[in-house]
């Protein structure tokens, strides 16, 4: 009781021991960094997996030395078996979608910067926040454990379609223990993200400082807030799906396995299940998940772009409304992943229209960015280059979405590399560009040191050109009828496409190697980079009003008061062409959101 008055000032006292400070920390900043580090480890694992797959696709008979140590049966002599190719593909997708694209832009950056940008000293429920990270970490470990069980990870893809995923080891290597580990891992991951979303929503609604009206929140905060609303509903549906899948495996229930299914000459003991039920539950999560990855990147890119444009975006509100519409529509389009599932053609149409409609808010956002860029004197730095790269990838990947949104075309393209090219560009690479942009932008705030801009630009150009070299030919392959999820194309009608595959593989190896430049830059700058000023980019939002790195309670024992819109650039003030949100200076502004 005696120490209550201290508690009333700070949520929790600054930790002193190493474990409370860096491991089981309650500080949202440390938790954000932990999420980012987890994503960093995961992304390089995912990258290596994609390298292995690409090398195998281009040169199916070439041994990859050392691979046999990962799995003696899966890669005897270093050459992938067809099954092991699919197992690696599953893990690549799972790691990238869950532990990178969800973890870094949403949980990582969001945890670090959302409380600072709303003017709070921490999230309202720090213990839940800490639990959210450690639960996610356990989920990651369980997923990784699948590599080390006798038959290895599952081969059913990151979508884990039933009945393949629900049958057990009779369905193939990894479909027993590996698949159960997968489902447990994703179920745990869902809990972590639900806890995270709870904190994000409460922070945004309840922890804003004085003067921080909703319309004064930076676009990045809006993006994280909207994403957490999507996450709250999407992960709450994936978790039940995983529970049902686990029960089909371990308890002998028949949720997803139909009657009289014969696999490997054995009639399966299940009866009456619905294979499509899994697809419905999965994609009800799965499509919003796309926006869980991309909306935070949109927020980060808007935030970075407007800072470097040195003038406000054409409209702050319209971007917010468009992001909200995207979130809303994201639940009405999931059926477009199931056009080839045999669904009623009328249902296909019903899912096709909202799919085309969701491109409207996305297009509005892109047009606002481009319109704001028009005639501006953009400051070129690595962060703004990656922001531009994001727009480029998002548009390029989005355009192929128009084709896939139409059931009649999707039936032709669905099982081909066209889809692989589409979602890699629009979701994966675009979101990664958002992550890179945010990293180069906020690195100085987090570490107190600047990243090397030259290395950053080298990284950007290799990644930008490389991503196009890898994923544009995918579209061509798809239109040429190259099916996806095959492990080799040497002795069939796809053999003439092999030179394209070789080109893609070489591009993937070079682009992947360029990510080592990023890693070097990250580590080297962390320890030996030049000291960063408090506000190197002359930004206006609250994170630039505090020292780098920020003190334990963000604002040094007091809370800021906000007087301005988030992006007051292109004006005349005592500081230059901008005014900070917490500056009480009266200025002539273009407009202020109220």
């Amino acid at each position: 009781m005696h120490d209550m008055s201290e508690h009333a000032v700070h949520h929790h006292a600054p930790p002193t021991g190493f474990i409370r400070k860096y491991i089981f920390s309650l500080d949202h900043k440390v938790i954000g960094e932990q999420y980012y580090m987890l994503a960093l480890v995961a992304v390089y694992i995912g990258l290596v997996l994609s390298w292995i797959m690409r090398i195998h696709l281009a040169w199916p008979n070439v041994a990859i030395h050392g691979l046999q140590f990962l799995s003696q049966t899966g890669a005897p002599g270093g050459i992938l078996t067809p099954e092991y190719y699919l197992q690696l593909m599953t893990m690549h997708g799972t790691i990238m979608v869950f532990f990178v694209l969800t973890t870094a832009p949403f949980a990582g950056f969001g945890n670090y910067f959302l409380p600072i940008q709303v003017g709070a000293e921490d999230m309202p429920f720090p213990h839940i926040n800490m639990t959210s990270f450690w639960v996610t970490f356990v989920g990651f470990c369980v997923a990784m454990a699948a590599f080390f069980v006798p038959q290895g990870p599952p081969l059913s893809g990151w979508t884990a379609y039933a009945p393949l995923s629900a049958l057990g080891s009779v369905a193939g290597p990894g479909q027993g223990t590996g698949q159960v580990l997968w489902a447990v891992s994703i179920g745990i991951f869902c809990i972590g993200q639900l806890l995270g979303s709870l904190n994000f929503i409460s922070t945004t609604l309840d922890m804003r400082c004085q003067g921080m009206s909703l319309m004064r929140l930076p676009l990045s905060v809006w993006a994280w807030f909207i994403t957490s609303c999507i996450g709250l509903t999407a992960f709450a549906v994936l978790m039940p799906a995983c529970i049902l899948l686990i029960l089909d495996h371990v308890a002998g229930t028949s949720f997803f396995v139909p009657s009289n299914l014969v696999v490997n000459d054995q009639i399966q003991p299940h009866a009456g299940g619905s294979t499509l039920l899994w697809q419905h539950l999965f994609w009800f999560f799965g499509h919003p998940e796309v926006y869980i990855a991309i909306v935070p990147a949109m927020g980060v890119v808007s935030h970075v772009l407007v800072t470097n444009l040195r003038r406000p975006l054409l409209s702050h509100r319209v971007i917010i409304y468009a992001m909200v519409s995207i979130a809303f529509l994201s639940y009405m389009v999931y059926g477009h992943h199931m056009f080839v599932s045999g669904m009623n053609p009328f249902s296909s149409i019903a899912f096709s229209f909202p799919t085309l409609a969701i491109t409207i808010p996305a297009t509005i956002i892109v047009l606002i960015w481009i319109g704001s860029l028009y005639g501006s004197k953009l400051r070129i730095n690595t962060a703004s280059l990656f922001a531009l790269g994001f727009i480029s990838m998002f548009v390029s990947g989005g355009i192929s979405g128009f084709f896939l949104a139409q059931p009649s075309l999707d039936i032709m393209l669905h099982a081909t590399y066209f889809v692989v090219g589409h979602f890699h560009l629009v979701m994966a690479v675009a979101a990664l560009f958002g992550i890179f942009s945010g990293t180069y932008f906020w690195f100085s705030k987090v570490t107190g040191r600047m990243m090397n801009e030259t290395l950053g630009k080298i990284h950007f150009w290799f990644t930008f050109a490389g991503a196009y070299c890898i994923f544009m030919p995918f579209h061509y392959l798809g239109m040429a009828g190259n099916v996806r999820r095959y492990q080799a194309f040497v002795d069939d009608f796809m053999a003439p496409l092999m030179p394209v595959h070789k080109f893609i593989t070489i591009a993937a190896l070079i682009t992947g190697a360029a990510q080592l430049v990023f890693l070097y830059n990250l580590i080297h700058s962390r320890f030996w980079g030049p000291k960063a000023p408090q506000n190197p980019w002359e930004g206006t939002s609250l994170e630039w009003s505090i020292p780098s790195p920020p003190p334990f309670d963000n604002f040094g024992g007091k809370l800021p008061v906000v007087y301005h819109d988030p992006y007051q650039y292109g004006i005349e003030s005592s500081t230059g062409d901008y005014v900070m949100q917490d500056s009480p200076e009266k200025i002539d502004t273009v407009r202020d959101e109220r």
């Binding site: 009333a8 949520h11 709070a120 979303s197 609604l205 978790m239």
Partner: protein, 226 residues
């Protein structure tokens, strides 16, 4: 370009002066250091938002299970109808009674905090009653499972029994979470100087009442479908 002169935001009169040091929902209504609970107010929007957000996620989870059940039932003709164990109706009454007890506890606690009631014993007693009723509910659910097992209905016997066990077990799991919250409240109230906040008890009771509503929904669903 310059069209309007910016005015600082209007600040409500009670906020004028130094910025508040803590808007941090969960902590704002902590008892002051001199230890009188009488001045504590229920003003914790973060915990209120938090519990509603959590309940939204739980609702979504059970909605997903419900849709799975409806789809699964419609998929094939193997659905086995069976009579629900009668003990469930008794359990329902117990759970409703526990909510009543918790409301009484909340009112008595509010009276204690407001200074209208001197002792902590009365709200504490009602919290214990709530906890006991909650435990009886969980035990009753366990009895229901035993009855089904005696009838030869196991988890994997039929999709109807699968869903029955699934719904009741997940609900019971959530009730256990509520019981943990109740125990926390009892522990805090029972300390030599009470550290229980009004908002904590409110959060626990929102959650607990939601378990009632959820259970009645589940009972109706199971009664109609199984």
């Amino acid at each position: 370009m310059a069209t309007t002169v910016h005015e600082p935001p209007k600040i409500k009169s009670d906020n004028v002066g130094e910025p508040r040091l803590s808007h941090n929902g969960g902590q704002r209504d902590l008892p002051p250091s001199f230890g009188s609970l009488r001045t504590v107010h229920d003003s914790s929007p973060a915990s209120r938002t938090g519990v509603w957000v959590g309940l939204a996620a739980i609702t979504m989870t059970f909605a997903a299970f419900t849709s799975a059940m409806i789809v699964r039932q419609g998929t094939s003709l193997d659905w086995l109808h069976f009579t629900l164990p009668p003990v469930l109706y008794f359990n329902t009454l117990v759970l409703l009674a526990s909510s009543g007890a918790l409301e009484t506890a909340r009112k008595r606690f509010a009276a204690f905090v407001a200074g209208r009631q001197s002792g902590r014993a009365v709200p504490l007693l009602w919290l214990w009653i709530t906890l006991a009723l909650g435990l009886i509910f969980v035990a009753g659910q366990y009895l229901a499972w035993r009855q089904l097992r005696a009838e030869g209905l196991y988890l994997a016997t039929n999709p109807s029994s699968s869903f029955f066990y699934l719904f009741t077990a997940l609900h019971a799991l959530h009730v256990l979470g509520g019981l943990a919250g109740l125990m926390l409240a009892i522990w805090r109230l029972g300390q030599s100087v009470s550290t229980l906040r009004v908002s904590t008890l409110s959060t626990v009771s929102y959650y607990w009442h939601f378990m009632d509503v959820l259970w009645i929904y589940l009972l109706l669903l199971l009664w109609m479908r199984i």
